[in-house]
């Protein structure tokens, strides 16, 4: 089997050690890092997303695929050019203040990276000021807010309000997601879009940035 297929399968099946070995061997053979990502790693994470959407994969399968992809992308990222890193657009993402849940967000991050976006992950329990500061500093195309609990999703409109007050709302598309959030809620708080799961979040970003 060619290295591309092996890497795609290793990532899709969440075999991170095997994926790292394949990447290392490919680099030893002077294969371009961007090519390794584009022909092996990205198809692997996209395949995992497809299987998830079709109901073949459960969360553990996606998590392990995500982990393997992240491992590979961390190794390859320093070797990429600035243009390659910037990719198709940029996204800042985080779980809102009070929310310590990160699994769903991490999957969205991996899927977005796997789809060629540059993602800044602010982590969990992120205060609204930190979101605003990050939008001001890095000028992303999209800001993603995640909330897992009905108690914490009330922070989402506060972030949007802070963006308005800072005069930054028009500069960035705001998308929301997480177990507690619904499409109706997203509309009500004035978000630009809602993603039910990671795959939908990627499609949404593509649509908002005019690529889908």
């Amino acid at each position: 089997m060619a290295w591309e297929e092996e890497l795609k399968r290793a990532i899709c099946e969440g075999e991170e050690e095997q994926a790292e070995r394949i990447v290392s061997a490919a680099l030893d053979e002077n294969i371009n890092p961007w090519e390794i990502l584009e022909r092996g790693a990205i198809p692997g994470i996209i395949e995992a997303g497809r299987l998830w959407q079709e109901g073949e994969y459960f969360l553990p399968d996606v998590i392990l695929a995500t982990e393997a992809y992240n491992q590979v992308s961390v190794a390859l990222e320093p070797l990429l050019s600035e243009g390659e890193r910037r990719g198709r657009g940029s996204v800042v993402i985080g779980s809102v203040e009070g929310d310590a849940h990160e699994i769903g967000k991490n999957i969205v991050v991996a899927m977005l990276r796997g789809s060629g976006y540059q993602v800044t992950d602010l982590g969990i329990d992120v205060e609204k000021e930190a979101f605003v500061e990050s939008v001001r500093e890095s000028n992303p195309d999209v800001l993603g807010l995640g909330a897992y609990m009905t108690t914490t999703m009330r922070r989402m409109p506060e972030v949007i309000q802070s963006l308005i007050e800072a005069g930054l709302r028009e500069r960035v598309k705001v998308i929301v997601g997480g177990a507690a959030v619904t499409e109706d809620y997203a509309k009500k708080i004035g978000a630009d879009g809602y993603g039910k799961d990671a795959a939908q979040a990627v499609s949404l970003v593509e649509r908002l940035l005019g690529g889908g």
Binding site: G14, G55, F58, L59, P60, I63, L64, E67, G98, A100, H101, E102, I103, I124, D125, M149, T150, T151, T152, R154, A180, T182, D184, Y185, K188
Partner: protein, 423 residues
């Protein structure tokens, strides 16, 4: 007869009345507790509403999270006031029950002023598998907030005249909380023997002694374990069968008795699998062995709104009827909060029409978001009370509704509530 025996006799009498009504011996009216029992085993006079006041009670009574989740009297009094104000049939003293055992093991929590404490997922108690050897079982009833739980349950029993439904965290969810989800998923694939050792420890050295201690203190007739992390799609059904079910069965075998049902309500995820019955089958397996007295089986099948909205209420009702089990359906927390009242009433009609059948249905208010306007809850409870009588009317749309006028909560509490300070 001593007070303890008198208390238990009183409980048995009320259970018997509820049970007798449920199966057709209808001599007397029912109180809320009896209505719940009647609904579990047959047809009550109407669908009962069971409430978990939780953080809504905290907000309504203007208590901080520290006070509400650590002090028995404010916690119980605020919860009871809330349940009485909204006139639900029965209420359950719910705190952050996923955290009690893990906190007692040494897991750090994040505390905030206005919401329930949460496990600090950035600092799992078992960051490496090797840390497992250092783990010491809690001292049941003494470690962490276990004394708070026991005292709260005792206060509840004093006030209500029946023991509370008591809660324990299922071992799989506990394993996720102290090990971290991703770590545990990796362990399942690469070190399954370790996961089994961890599950055995959490089941037999943490959960069982804790349930036994609670049983000794408050003689509950029902102990429920909850297993949020064992939901689909968090885990596959195969994983549940290998890593959850055997341990649930061990715990049930070690702690249930003819007068004490111990069960796992399972979690959610019917909408995530190709055949929703697969998840319901697992829930049945987590519940059916719960009582040693076969006539008291099964107890109830709990299905959450996200699932029944997608799978269809009538389908889960069909499954429940086939298995002759009570169907417990929660009411969408988002809908309670966002309303409007007419949308809430429409959902009540739908739940009654498609879910109430000829009995064996309980409506659960598991979470009332803190921002919920009281009038939403008043309308919801009034509509179930006026429309939920058996047999359920065919023309629910035409039935009138009178929402009782109530003073605002503060005024009501002054006159009729319990004090929520330490007095």
């Amino acid at each position: 007869m001593d007070a303890k025996a008198g208390f238990q006799l009183g409980v048995l009498r009320r259970m018997a009345r509820g049970l007798a009504y449920g199966v057709g011996w209808r001599r007397d009216g029912l109180d809320g507790y009896e209505r719940l029992i009647a609904a579990i085993y047959g047809q009550p006079d109407r669908v009962p509403v069971l409430m978990q006041p939780y953080t809504y009670a905290m907000r309504l009574n203007r208590l901080s999270a520290r006070t509400f989740f650590t002090r028995p009297r404010p916690f119980i009094h605020a919860s009871m006031n809330t349940a009485r104000y909204f006139e639900v049939d029965f209420w359950s003293p719910v705190f952050d029950f996923y955290n009690i055992e893990v906190e007692a093991l040494g897991q750090t929590l994040i505390w905030r002023e206005e919401s329930e404490p949460d496990v600090d997922t950035r600092r799992p108690l078992l960051p490496e598998r090797e840390s497992f050897s250092k783990l010491k079982p809690p001292v049941p009833g003494k470690s962490g907030r276990m004394p708070f739980v026991l005292e709260s349950y005792e206060r509840y029993s004093e006030l209500m005249g029946v023991p509370p439904i008591v809660y324990a965290c299922s071992p799989f969810t506990m394993a996720v909380l102290i090990r971290g989800y991703v770590n545990l998923i990796r362990d399942v694939r690469r070190h399954p023997a370790f996961v089994h050792r961890l599950m055995e420890f959490l089941s037999m050295e943490v959960v069982v002694p804790w349930i036994q201690k609670m049983a000794e203190k408050v003689q509950p007739s029902m102990v429920t374990m909850s297993d949020a992390w064992a939901s689909q799609p968090n885990v596959t059904t195969e994983m549940v069968r290998e890593f959850c079910l055997p341990y649930i069965h061990k715990i049930i075998a070690a702690t249930s008795s003819p007068t004490r049902t111990v069960l796992d309500t399972g979690s959610w995820g019917e909408r995530w699998v190709k055949d929703f019955r697969e998840v319901l089958d697992i829930k049945m397996e987590m519940m059916v062995p719960g009582n040693r007295f076969p006539a008291l089986r099964p107890f109830f099948l709990l299905v959450w709104n996200e699932d029944y909205e997608e799978v269809g209420i009538s389908h889960v009702r069909g499954y429940a009827e086939e298995k002759r089990v009570c169907l417990m359906l929660n009411f969408s927390p988002n809908l309670i909060e966002e309303g409007p009242v007419e949308a809430i009433l429409e959902m009540v009609r739908k739940l009654l029409r498609e879910g109430a059948g000829k009995g064996r249905m309980v409506l659960l208010l598991n979470l009332v978001p803190m921002g919920t306007p009281p009038e939403h809850l008043h309308a919801l409870v009034a509509s179930v009370k006026q429309w939920g009588n058996y047999p359920i009317a065919h023309d629910l749309d035409l039935l009138p509704l009178k929402i009782p006028e109530k003073p605002n909560y503060g005024i009501w509490r002054e006159k009729e509530g319990l004090p929520v300070d330490e007095s």
